[in-house]
């Protein structure tokens, strides 16, 4: 079997998978009586039509990619983090706390400090799930979901209580649960005029490089991947599998925390409800779609950013509810899982190879 054939084979499978996802999506769109082609065209092309729209796509790709990077670290170390949503909220709280209590610090100190605090808070949330799994064998699926609930309640409590904007408490305020506008010293620069695109983009890219180096170029990464790939062999090799589970969960949580910090500092500039916007869950899909590697996660997060912005527009332009994005995400998860199984099936590949050879061998005769 040639290398070229293998690549083509895998590429074709992925294309077919995307088509399949779109196909299933069409059925649902038809069912709600929408114009299928138009909807897809709007989702996939409309967001690329202007700089403003592209900047909005990138804006969403930033938290998605950071969260997905963290999830890929955990996943490769053998632990599945579905608690990024809660970890992100904790990160937002950490950042907000720093910005509220130290508003006079210069930008150059405040921004790193606030982001690091966000990372610390998110990391702590990841740490809890990691330790529970490593020491007591509590399934991370259970603990991270529960921690999501706790974080969500805590988040609401903080926004309604300690962090509540004093202006909202006065007579003129509406009582919206949100913090006051945070100090300008926290704001990330928006580097394209008339867009919201901020320097968090570069942070995300830097983090992607960092994760690539960590996982594939250092002994830490080696040990994490070994623990994830075969815990028993890793233990035999003197790697403390439990420790690396915890570390990877801390990194994963910290990344979600950073994503939260950057959303606050770059986009909203205050803590309010709904900042996380499901990024914590979409991040899982992005990580899987990106093949659990930074090289795949960057384009994957752009693609999902596109879907999010695109489906917002369908609401306006074709009248399809933006919730369709959730449906599409669900379909994509199912398709990814099946695609992975198909790609991992050597027998199927063999059969296709045979068919392909027969096809190619007879073809010249037909032409002759």
């Amino acid at each position: 079997m040639t290398r070229q054939f293998k690549l083509t084979y895998k590429f074709t499978i992925i294309i077919l998978a995307i088509l399949a996802a779109m196909g299933i999506g069409s059925i649902i769109l038809l069912a709600i009586g929408a114009d299928v082609t138009k909807t897809y065209l709007v989702i996939l092309l409309e967001p690329l039509k202007s700089t403003l729209q592209i900047s909005e796509v990138l804006l969403r790709a930033i938290p998605l990619s950071i969260i997905a990077l963290g999830i890929s670290v955990a996943y490769r170390s053998g632990i599945i983090n579905i608690g990024a949503e809660g970890q992100m909220m904790m990160g937002i709280l950490g950042t907000t706390m720093v910005a509220l209590s130290l508003p006079t610090l210069p930008k150059i100190i405040l921004i790193p400090l606030a982001i690091l605090t966000g990372a610390l808070f998110g990391g702590l949330w990841g740490f809890i799930a990691g330790v529970l799994r490593a020491k007591l064998g509590v399934s991370e699926l259970l603990s991270t979901v529960m921690l999501n609930y706790i974080a969500a309640q805590f988040y609401t409590f903080m926004l309604r209580g300690p962090f509540l904007d004093p202006a909202e408490k006065t007579l003129g305020g509406a009582g919206t649960p949100q913090s006051m506008r945070l100090t300008k010293n926290l704001w990330l620069t928006r580097f394209i005029p008339r867009t919201r695109l901020h320097t968090g983009l570069f942070i995300a890219l830097a983090l992607a490089v960092l994760i690539y180096l960590l996982l594939w170029k250092t002994d830490f990464g080696y040990k994490m991947r070994a623990s994830g790939a075969s815990g028993r062999a890793a233990r035999y090799g003197g790697i403390s599998v439990g420790w690396y589970l915890v570390v990877s969960m801390v990194i994963s949580g910290a990344f979600a925390g950073i994503a939260g910090a950057i959303e606050v500092a770059g986009v909203h500039r205050r803590a309010l409800e709904g900042i996380t916007a499901g990024y914590g869950f979409s991040g899982i899909v992005v990580a899987l779609f990106g093949g659990l590697s930074p090289i795949g996660i960057i384009p994957a997060s752009f693609f999902f950013g596109l879907l999010i912005v695109g489906s917002d527009m369908t609401q306006r332009l074709v009248g399809v509810p933006a919730n369709m994005i959730n449906v599409l995400q669900g379909i994509i998860i199912l398709v990814i899982v099946s695609t992975k199984m198909i790609l991992a099936d050597p027998y199927l590949m063999e059969r296709v190879w045979r068919w392909y050879q027969r096809h190619c061998k007879t073809k010249p005769e037909v032409e002759a």
Partner: protein, 508 residues
């Protein structure tokens, strides 16, 4: 069901990326015949049989049964044609019972609404009575010894109606007694079925098989009657040179004790004391062979020494330090080398490449990393070097270790453990699954290490291996040392008696 009177594979060729696993192989097996398929590690034996079973498709060639061409697209096709295979790695589900495992493949007991376990059980009883294969249908797989699991695999294959048996290294993990029983059984079954038998042990091949097929680098290099050739001839044909297993003839060295195990108590997975007041000491520069039927505490001993199993009581003094219940990392750092029994799940990370596996224990060493960054060039150079030195057959150093042949996986582990320059080596069944040439090489390496002055504890069931290499022989039985013998006092007979649990004095 129709009998299989002849089976023929013609011009079978199979190319894996970078490896020609089968190269134009043709052979046939007649009714009631036993064909031995032998050859070096990575010669293509397993691949050839996987093609026969429909697990792989050959690039070229065809299969004929009773003179008619057949095509197996998957193992089910092969089953329905009457072929059955017991694989090199057993494919049983550990937390299911014997009945449940066999029911998985026994389609006749399946109906859309119900699985008829009683029917499966009846079938098992029928088969085990017919062939004299005792199995307990309600035992969980994890409770069974390797030999018992092997018997379950055999019963399973027969239950599914196999009229042609393929056995891929069935004896490599069996005790000598179990092996003898299996050979007797197979001889008896010969009247009803044909068998293809893969093994590295030529004694068995001579004993059991009528015909012989030798593969090297995927091609047939010899085909003939077993009776016409001596074991030495066969070995030479297999490896291309005369094989002579080395023997430890040197004087015992009276060095200092480096590993001193005192009153060790360790529990087994099933909760009883697998080691019960175990005592043994090993000096530097000597090989101590630990003989015993497997399941008498060997696995627990190896794991306890390496920090992989909890020590209940007693101490393990390693160069004066008690390493009982220390972390595996600590024990490795103090100089322990360990060749584990489970090569596929413990000795390597299957998904990692060959070169990555060779540094499993050494990522932190200056040799392979600086400031936590891995030195790719050094890792590659190390792998290239060891691949040549230990003759690991693989297309390159980046292939996944899990895709290597069984014997080559073992070589990867040996290469890593020996080349790390340990201060002590614990070798558990080191030549299991290795071909003769590789076994010879490994034994030479072990003797070389001994000469360099490190202590070696060799756990094995092969008495020949123990007698060839050891300075002293200890016999383990039910978690205790029966007796420790000087090499000059040890022979097959005395060891056999001791291994069976009879104390030496009782026989006199």
């Amino acid at each position: 069901m129709q009998k299989i009177t002849s089976l023929r594979m013609e011009h079978i060729t199979k190319q894996f990326p970078g490896t020609l696993a089968c190269d134009d192989i043709t052979f046939s097996v007649g009714e009631g015949e036993i064909l031995a398929l032998v050859g070096e590690n990575g010669a293509g034996k397993t691949t050839l049989m996987n093609i026969l079973m429909g697990l792989y498709q050959s690039d070229e060639g065809r299969i004929l049964i009773n003179g008619e061409e057949v095509r197996f697209r998957n193992p089910n096709d092969a089953f329905s044609a009457g072929l059955g295979m017991v694989h090199q790695q057993y494919m049983l589900i550990a937390n299911m019972t014997v009945v449940e495992n066999i029911a998985l493949g026994y389609k006749e007991a399946w109906s859309p609404v119900k699985l008829d376990l009683a029917k499966v059980r009846a079938r098992i009883v029928e088969i085990s009575e017919k062939y004299g294969l005792a199995v307990d249908p309600d035992a969980y797989i994890w409770q069974l010894s390797v030999g018992e699991q092997q018997r379950v695999e055999l019963v399973k294959t027969l239950c599914l109606g196999a009229r042609f048996l393929i056995l891929d290294e069935p004896t490599s993990a069996l005790t000598p007694q179990e092996t003898d029983e299996l050979i007797v059984l197979l001889k008896r079954m010969k009247s009803e079925l044909s068998i293809i038998f893969i093994s590295h042990k030529l004694q068995e091949v001579k004993n059991l098989c009528d015909k012989l097929l030798i593969l090297r680098h995927g091609a047939v290099v010899f085909e003939g009657e077993t009776a016409d050739h001596s074991m030495g001839d066969i070995a030479a044909l297999m490896t291309g040179h005369e094989v002579e297993l080395p023997v430890n003839k040197e004087e015992a060295c009276n060095g200092t004790v480096v590993l001193d195990i005192r009153n060790l108590d360790v529990q087994s997975d099933r909760g009883f004391l697998a080691l019960d007041g175990f005592n043994l000491s090993i000096r530097c520069g000597e090989i101590v062979g630990l003989a015993g039927v497997s399941g008498n505490g060997q696995r627990e001993l190896a794991e306890a020494i390496n920090g992989l199993r909890k020590v209940e009581r007693g101490e393990i003094l390693f160069y004066g330090e008690d390493i009982a219940n220390k972390s595996p990392h600590h024990i490795i750092e103090s100089g322990m080398g360990y060749i584990p029994e489970e090569r596929n799940t413990e000795g390597i990370v299957p998904a990692f490449s060959l070169k990555e596996n060779l540094i499993l224990k050494d990522t932190e060493r200056d040799e392979f990393s600086a400031h936590h960054f891995l030195k790719n060039k050094a890792i590659e150079a190390n792998a290239t070097d060891l691949r040549v030195k230990f003759d690991i057959r693989s297309p390159n150093t980046s292939v996944a270790a899990g895709s290597l042949s069984g014997g080559n996986i073992q070589k990867v582990i040996l290469a890593r453990e020996i080349s790390r320059r340990p201060k002590f080596l614990l070798a558990v069944y080191p030549i299991r699954g290795l071909d003769l040439g590789a076994a010879e090489f490994i034994h030479k390496q072990l003797l070389e290490k001994r000469r360099e002055g490190i202590g070696i504890l060799l756990i094995s069931e092969e008495l020949d291996e123990i007698l060839d290499l050891s300075d002293r022989v200890a016999v383990i039985f039910k978690g205790k040392i029966q007796q420790v013998l000087e090499r000059k006092d040890a022979n097959r007979r005395t060891l056999g008696i001791l291994m069976a649990g009879v104390h030496d004095d009782q026989t006199v």
